[in-house]
């Protein structure tokens, strides 16, 4: 009980931060060295390219990338120490795009210099991006070692490009440079998902990811256009100042209010939310470090960053934030349900990432940027941990990741640490009370449940139910794979990277299956795992600090001093069922988590057949037959998209191609070509060589002319 009372205390010092204006950015040319945070990864990308050109067969690219990432992490820390939560600073690096025309009242200018906007939000994001990035790079250096000669440089080149683009995106001072980073990150994810280029599924997944991102990017580009048309600037500093001066006299009816929705579209595209989320599970085709770094921790949070950064814009339309909340909530629920029915461990973690991202957008939507920000922070760590443990398992079991074929890994020699760290990750994911995730998810749900709006309350309850589902599917994976009797089957590919000789590998491999023995991860994987595990626990520190030592929650203070300050205030909701919002969410949340774990334990460890029996029962009864079918087939979303978009487009293209080839080209162009020939053939029979034929033509011609002449002459004076 003790814990509950403490929770109650935490909500009293409500810092009414709503009215505080975003501090004006000051120019800081002295911080030009901050550009190196982007420069270092870019340089490492170039060096990797050089290594590739020289066909190096060593681990040098990994070394270069790790040094570069560590360097940018150190620089970010130095920057943090200098700027901290002070006033935001704008550092101009070089002139990229600028244009001006017109005079007098018609003067219009467009400037997009390559500059950095450093404030608390940027630093907060960069810290965990560069931090996790370097750790995962170290992990990958060993994980990818079997590819040294063949794709190693390409992998680390991709990682460096990704980090450079992510840094550009986060530290951009205007929306166009953000767009540059945005598409750069999309390119990096395309290259890295398609790393195993020999597998057609990987290539298709990469293409799908890039195109879905591109759809989101279009929304973002149009949003930027609209912002520039309405506010005459794309720069954050000036934009916030203009917005501060009160909403502009909206001269276009729907234009300004459309901005938040377009930005939202971009965010959902990049962060794989409801309409555009199907690319993330397919992105698991890429190597596991990529999934961990890009598709779990950093890139997918870009959408959250965008909305947090342009939070003031979201007041332009009354229900902009409500939409974000709704999409977030629904995505969380849908992804959780799908996650329950997947058998591939990485796919489960992918859907759980989508679900947690749904929570973050729910947080943003309901107005708690602090909750969302904190959840991003905690989620980045424990999801990276989960993915890396899954990676360690794949690495050891030659690509085997299907939880039906793995069991009792806890007792397999060499995998003891991995299993326990996986347990830690699972506990954090299912929001065990007093875990870091519990604090962040609790904040979000409390804000939702405590808000006046009824639909936010509904979303709050939906979030709680999803928390129960999350707990269930997390521990379903853990109990099935890591606990229980030890029996496993090796994966199908000899080593899960280049499959040059896959045809030979499977043949020779079949006989070797009997005496296959998995090899546990070595230091290169163990050390990053341990560090990240520490990070997972440490992520809870801001929460513990606020709870036990009544300190200021660090994340909350960071959010307070950034452009997303509106939602960073202390959350204070109205009473629910007699208890304060805090106490209600914590109680229900804890019970949901424990219930989920209990059910998972009961169906997946004690009596493994129970899950199958339950599934069969569901299938048996015709009313509920659809549930297992839809869940396993991921709500048929892919099929719907295929039917709604890909198929009609494919048919339309063929029709257009046919129309273009036959009508425009065949009929119009070649047709006009054939006209003279046809006319010539028309007069052909006249020249039949017969003397009298010609005589008749001549006589006929003469007679007609004479007749016509005389007729006129006659009419003249007849």
């Amino acid at each position: 009980m003790l814990s509950f009372s403490l929770l109650a205390l935490a909500d009293d010092h409500a810092a009414t931060a709503a009215s505080l204006a975003i501090p004006a950015a000051i120019d800081a040319p002295d911080l030009r060295w901050a550009g190196l945070i982007i420069g270092l990864p870019a340089l490492s990308a170039l060096l990797c390219l050089l290594c590739g050109a020289l066909k190096l067969r060593s681990k040098l690219p990994a070394l270069i990338t790790i040094i570069a990432l560590l360097g940018s992490f150190v620089l970010t820390c130095m920057l943090f120490s200098q700027v901290g939560e002070g006033t935001p600073r704008v550092v101009g690096l070089f002139e990229w795009m600028s244009f001006s025309w017109g005079t007098g009242d018609r003067f219009q200018s467009f400037a997009a210099p390559f500059a950095l906007y450093i404030d608390a939000l940027t630093l907060f994001w960069m810290l965990f991006v560069t931090g996790l990035g370097s750790l995962i790079a170290i992990y990958a250096s060993e994980y990818m070692e079997s590819d040294v000669g063949k794709g190693y440089t390409r992998f680390f080149g991709g990682v460096s490009i990704f980090l450079a683009a992510m840094a550009t995106l986060v530290m951009a001072s205007n929306l166009v440079v953000l767009y540059l980073g945005w598409e750069g990150v999309g390119l990096a994810s395309y290259l890295l998902i398609g790393y195993y280029y020999a597998k057609p599924s990987a290539v298709a997944a990469a293409k799908k990811a890039f195109i879905m991102n591109r759809i989101g990017d279009l929304g973002l580009a149009l949003g930027i256009g609209l912002i520039w048309v309405n506010y005459d600037t794309v720069d954050y500093a000036t934009l916030f100042r203009v917005l501060e001066a009160g909403p502009l006299a909206t001269q276009g009816d729907w234009m300004p209010s459309a901005i938040p929705f377009l930005l939202m579209l971009g965010a959902f595209g990049k962060s794989a939310q409801l309409p555009l989320f199907t690319w993330l599970p397919d992105a698991m085709e890429g190597p596991t470090p990529v999934s961990a770094l890009i598709h779990a921790a950093t890139m997918v949070t870009a959408g959250v960053y965008l909305i947090a950064r342009t939070y003031p814009l979201f007041e332009l339309h009354p229900d902009a934030l409500a939409t974000v909340a709704w999409v977030g909530g629904l995505t969380a629920f849908v992804a959780a349900t799908i996650g329950m029915a997947q058998y591939d461990m990485k796919r489960v973690w992918a859907y759980s990432t989508i679900s947690q991202l749904g929570y973050m957008f729910l947080g943003l939507g309901v107005g708690s940027t602090f909750g969302a920000g904190y959840h991003v922070f905690t989620h980045a760590f424990f999801k990276a941990l989960l993915f890396l443990t899954a990676g360690a398992v794949m690495h050891g079991f030659a690509g085997q990741i299907d939880i039906r074929k793995l069991s009792g890994l806890r007792r397999v020699p060499g995998f003891k640490l991995v299993s326990w760290l996986a347990l830690l990750g699972c506990l954090w994911l299912s929001a065990l009370p007093f875990s870091a995730a519990f604090f962040s998810k609790d904040t979000i749900l409390t804000t939702a449940l405590g808000s006046e709006r009824s639909d936010f309350q509904f979303l709050g309850w939906l979030g709680l139910f999803t928390a129960f589902l999350t707990a269930y599917y997390t521990f379903r994976v853990w109990f099935r794979a890591f606990a229980g009797p030890v029996q496993f089957e090796a994966g199908d590919d000899h080593h899960d990277d280049d499959h040059a000789h896959d045809s030979h590998a499977t043949a020779s491999h079949a006989h070797a299956k009997s005496e296959f023995h998995p090899h546990g991860p070595r230091l290169g994987i163990r050390i990053p795992l341990i560090v990240i595990a520490l990070g997972v626990v440490a992520a809870g520190w801001p929460g513990y600090d606020a709870l036990f030592f009544h300190g200021e929650n660090w994340v909350q203070s960071m959010m307070m001093h950034s452009s997303a300050m509106q939602g960073a205030g202390e959350v204070h909701g109205r009473e629910i069922f007699g208890l304060s919002a805090h106490r209600m969410t914590s109680i229900v949340g804890t019970s949901a988590c424990l219930l989920g774990i209990a059910i998972a334990y009961w169906t997946h460890l004690r009596d493994r057949s129970a899950a199958d029996r339950a599934r069969a029962a569901l299938r048996g009864f015709f009313l509920t037959r659809w549930i297992p079918a839809t869940l396993e087939n991921r709500w048929y979303v892919d099929e719907i998209y295929h039917a709604l978009f890909r198929l009609p487009l494919w048919v339309a293209s063929h029709i257009l191609h046919f129309f273009d080839k036959t009508f425009v080209d065949g009929f119009l162009v070649d047709g006009t070509g054939r006209v003279p020939v046809a006319v010539a053939r028309l007069f052909q029979p006249l020249y039949n060589g017969v003397l009298q034929g010609y005589a008749a033509t001549m006589a006929g011609g003469f007679v007609l002319i004479a007749g016509w002449v005389f007729w006129i002459w006659l009419r003249g004076n007849g």
Binding site: V690, Q692, A696, G700, V703, L704, G707, F710, L714, G718
Partner: protein
């Protein structure tokens, strides 16, 4: 003849058109190698059309009243009928003979028009010479018809696209008819003929004046002199032989030192042949030469064309060229 009212102008031209159409239809029936009765009907139709045309035209000429003179119609119709037969007759020889009929009929018309010399020249040259050549070539080129098969060979019986040719002909004839036989045209012709008559009168006297020999013959006859008696004329003031006083014309001839005034009357005027000869020589001297050249050219052409292709062997050619014959046979020698 006054300007006839437009209404009947319209009517006469439509009638004429109708008649020409009738004639053409008849001709078509005649041309096609159909049943004999059909071709008879065609000829009847054609003749009716032509006759109607003549009546219409001559009615126009005689100012609408009176019966048209027989002779022109007679000659015209026979000429047209003959021409139709020339064209439609399957046997070329008969066609040639019918052509002679056409020539004679048109000679008749010549006479009616006062061109008697030309009438006979036409018969002599055309019927006599040209048609005879045709007959000759026909005989030459005609395969002898197979016994019993009296019909002409195929290409003579079946004309080419009879209908379209007749249409062409019809359009032309209708146009000519319209042009020639409308009242204004008739009036103009009559007007110029009146003026022409007066002119002819003066022209005849001039031609006579230009014929001293004729005058000598007249004077010898008037003065009952011997055929070869020498006669001298005394020129009038403009050195013209014929002198005019009032409306009488006379010529002064000195015979054996005495002047006699010989009166000339209309009967002394030159006859048509003489007038034609005079105009031919006075007005068209160059044309005669050209005509002569054309005829000689035709002569050479005919000779060259009709040359018999004689294939000369090697020896004949050498011989013609005057070279000795090369030969290896011992006995061939110069015996050839």
């Amino acid at each position: 003849m006054d300007q006839s009212a437009p209404s009947d102008l319209l009517s006469s031209s439509t009638v004429m058109l109708g008649l020409v159409a009738l004639a053409s239809a008849g001709l078509v029936l005649l041309m096609r190698p159909g049943a004999r009765s059909l071709r008879l009907a065609g000829s009847v139709l054609g003749l009716a059309g032509v006759a109607g045309l003549f009546v219409e035209v001559l009615k126009l000429a005689s100012g609408g009243g009176g019966i048209p003179p027989i002779l022109p119609v007679l000659f015209g119709v026979t000429a047209i009928a003959g021409a139709a037969r020339v064209m439609t007759h399957p046997r070329p020889v008969f066609a040639a003979v019918y052509f002679i009929l056409v020539v004679v009929a048109s000679a008749g018309l010549f006479l009616l028009l006062g061109a008697d010399f030309m009438a006979f020249a036409l018969i002599i040259v055309y019927a006599g010479a040209i048609l005879v050549t045709y007959m000759f070539v026909l005989m030459l080129a005609q395969q002898s018809p197979v016994e019993g098969d009296a019909t002409a060979n195929w290409y003579d019986r079946v004309p080419r696209e009879a209908v379209s040719c007749v249409i062409i002909g019809f359009v032309m004839v209708a146009t000519l008819a319209q042009v020639l036989f409308n009242p204004n045209e008739e009036a103009r012709r009559v007007a110029s003929s009146v003026q022409g008559e007066a002119q002819t009168q003066a022209q005849l006297w001039e031609t006579l004046a230009g014929m001293p020999k004729q005058l000598k013959v007249i004077t010898r006859e008037r003065l009952q002199l011997a055929k070869d008696a020498p006669v001298q004329f005394v020129a009038g003031e403009r050195s013209a032989l014929i002198q005019i006083e009032g409306d009488t014309r006379f010529v002064v001839a000195t015979v054996d030192g005495k002047d006699h005034r010989v009166m000339l009357t209309n009967t002394d005027l030159p006859v048509n042949a003489q007038v034609v000869g005079a105009t031919l020589v006075n007005d068209f001297p160059a044309s005669i030469e050209v005509a002569g050249v054309i005829l000689t050219m035709a002569l050479f052409g005919a000779v060259v064309l009709a040359r018999k292709q004689v294939e000369l062997g090697e020896d004949e050619r050498r011989e013609l060229a005057g070279l000795s014959r090369l030969s290896v046979e011992p006995d061939s020698g110069a015996s050839r």
